[in-house]
Symmetry: C2
Subunit: 465 residues, 2 copies
Amino acid sequence: MADIAQALAAITGPRGVLTGTDVSTRPAGIWRSDTIAAKAIVRPRDTAEVAAVLRACNDAGQSVIAQGGLTGLVQSAISEPRDIMLSLERMNRVESVDLVNRTMTVQAGVPLQTVQETADDHGLLYPLDLGARGSCTVGGNISTNAGGNRVIRYGMTRDMVLGLEAVLADGTAVSSMNQMIKNNAGYDLKQLFIGSEGSLGIVTRAVLRLREKPRSQETMFVAVDSFDRLPELLKHMDARLGGALSAFEVLWSDFYRLVTTPPAKQKPPLPQQYPYYALIEAMGGDADNDAARAQAALAEAYESGLLADAVIAQNEAQRREMWAMRDDVEQCNRFPPLFIFDVGLPIPSMEAYVSDVNRLLDASFDTYRNFTFGHLGDGNLHFGICAGEDEESAREAVERAVYEPLKHIDGTISAEHGIGLEKKSYLLISRSPEEVALMRTLKQALDPKGILNPGKIFDRDSEAS
Amino acid sequence: MADIAQALAAITGPRGVLTGTDVSTRPAGIWRSDTIAAKAIVRPRDTAEVAAVLRACNDAGQSVIAQGGLTGLVQSAISEPRDIMLSLERMNRVESVDLVNRTMTVQAGVPLQTVQETADDHGLLYPLDLGARGSCTVGGNISTNAGGNRVIRYGMTRDMVLGLEAVLADGTAVSSMNQMIKNNAGYDLKQLFIGSEGSLGIVTRAVLRLREKPRSQETMFVAVDSFDRLPELLKHMDARLGGALSAFEVLWSDFYRLVTTPPAKQKPPLPQQYPYYALIEAMGGDADNDAARAQAALAEAYESGLLADAVIAQNEAQRREMWAMRDDVEQCNRFPPLFIFDVGLPIPSMEAYVSDVNRLLDASFDTYRNFTFGHLGDGNLHFGICAGEDEESAREAVERAVYEPLKHIDGTISAEHGIGLEKKSYLLISRSPEEVALMRTLKQALDPKGILNPGKIFDRDSEAS
């Protein structure tokens, strides 16, 4: 054990390697109560050091887990005592902002919020946004292909990364720091490293695409009488707002009541009697006229029977309250044990699927709560399910109730959180044996010794120890 | 030779395999004067037949070139007498349209125009559009990651494909027919097959993302006094139009004069004295008010000195004329030999780069013409260069003049057309040895015998024969 830590310290200097209580006192994740178990945490300062570290580890058959802000939800950056943790925390610089090209070049360890604020300081927008913005890093966003609330307008992280640099398991640095929206010169290698959870390479730098900063923001909250009107309303608003629609978040009534009833802080902006609610946001370029446009779009929806009631945020405070309500998932913790899910499925299957899940929960548990909400426009639903006596005994029945009905409707067990350790035993619900075999082929080709984040996403026959 | 054709006919039936003059009378490409050279053209009817064909070819070490509409510009679907051509022409069905999920499921051989028209018939939009729409196929669009004129708004083909099915070299069909905007369940395998020019697998089916059909379309043509105002104007229009900007095409003065002076058909919509012109288009959702918004945006640009003159299309006929002018690249053919390029580079380097190219052309040729135009918003420039006495003797000097200055500004030798055979000797200008090595690693892992489109994009050590 001492050997590899010493070898790494020779690369990074002694301050670059943490061992002993410097490791065991660090939390294993910002939502977790346990601490990191690892031989050492190595903290390289640049790509060359990452390359040298991986070369040494690969030569030694030493497993390496890359670590960003540790905000993931699927145990993808969890290590064991035999692992080396590689933290990008000392590679946290914004290298440059190009105002003409509308790009930002960053090191992987920079926090998302720093990127957002730097873009904003330059009159531009980095559209990715999620609750963990202050802790999560660009490298983590990339390796998990993070989504968030604005996917319907701006896409996922994959759509915001123009170029990146990654170090392969054998220490080869592959720099694909493309700055253009278009580049068809051979294979688009960056795609390998986006969303593969640090298992095919470690992202060290990236070129991010920036957007023009919106000049208007209209936030609307509506009540809807039946599920089938939701996708109709989505289509209407999407078409009517002509490219400005940036969020379409749906709240099922149970979730709405939870987050608008004390002890939850927010008051209900609309009466609690409706079965569905949607938080709709548009980001436009015409500060003078966009509010009227949003109002007209809502009025048309009301006239054609698509919505039952509606309110528009009149100021920033009201906008924040609407989002605080949507984001107050923490309320679900009042009924432990709590299981959070992140599934995706075709919209036409959604209503029947939620019924199926609830039917299966009902069959397994005397009582349960299923707080349902999600990014309907992206086909992405979240459940906060409270069922059973304790987490351990309830977990399998809850997971089966959520995942198994996805199989015959071509749904996904992970829309945005990833697989990690938490979901890997269910991967075959969403992916075919041929797909998993092809994933293994890629893993074997890029990381033949299996040192990078071994055992995450899928099992390999032989893992590094 | 007869053996493999017979083996394939046993799979597809005799009508599925063309040989002899049925092969040698077919054009090798819609822009080419030569005809196809191949042992046979095999035309499977479904994925199972594609799989069986590839299995047989892989067992025999038989090279296979996939063929769509043969509209490519870089010799990526060119075959030799030893090759088998695999045409998707009998897999040309739209399988389904989902109006709620806003997706279309198609076979790879369906022409782009059929997809566009089918979407339109259902009140939706498939945003990919290029001149070859009537001939090119979805499979070809995917395997080349086709771009076109609306990338700034809707992205490239990569951004429009939610799922796909591909057959690997060994005949394994990998079905990743995802229908959701978000799916992070393991590696995003479809990325392997998008833009890899049929060298990693053959795409057989796809799920395409459809968009709401625009309800307004504003087409503007403006004159600009200096290059540095172009990206400022782009930023202004992009921000002001709030997500509706769908095209920002720049015409250098030489190109503008060429396409607006007889014998070219179009008249100049603005005087010919300016150095730069831009064709700007917005597609919005508010038929009543979007024209006023576009006019206001242009007026603001004029007041702040970003543009020297402007005209807005008042009707569909004027819009078509503006686009016909931009698309009349054929005029370059009046000064043969003609060399067409498709490069990409960061916008801040663009003005100096064009000067560099012209300086190098000037040093090599007594006279030359460089008609320059492109998708400035995407960093993508096209050149129609007329230089030298004949194609063969002039080609290398012209190519070097265009490609070599790209190296130190991180440009790409192919923004949207791909590499194929035509550009592969210049690949190292845009990609590092480490990147090409990683491409080879992927090729070796997915196609160990090298039967799929051998010799395209990059050389392998040992190719199938």
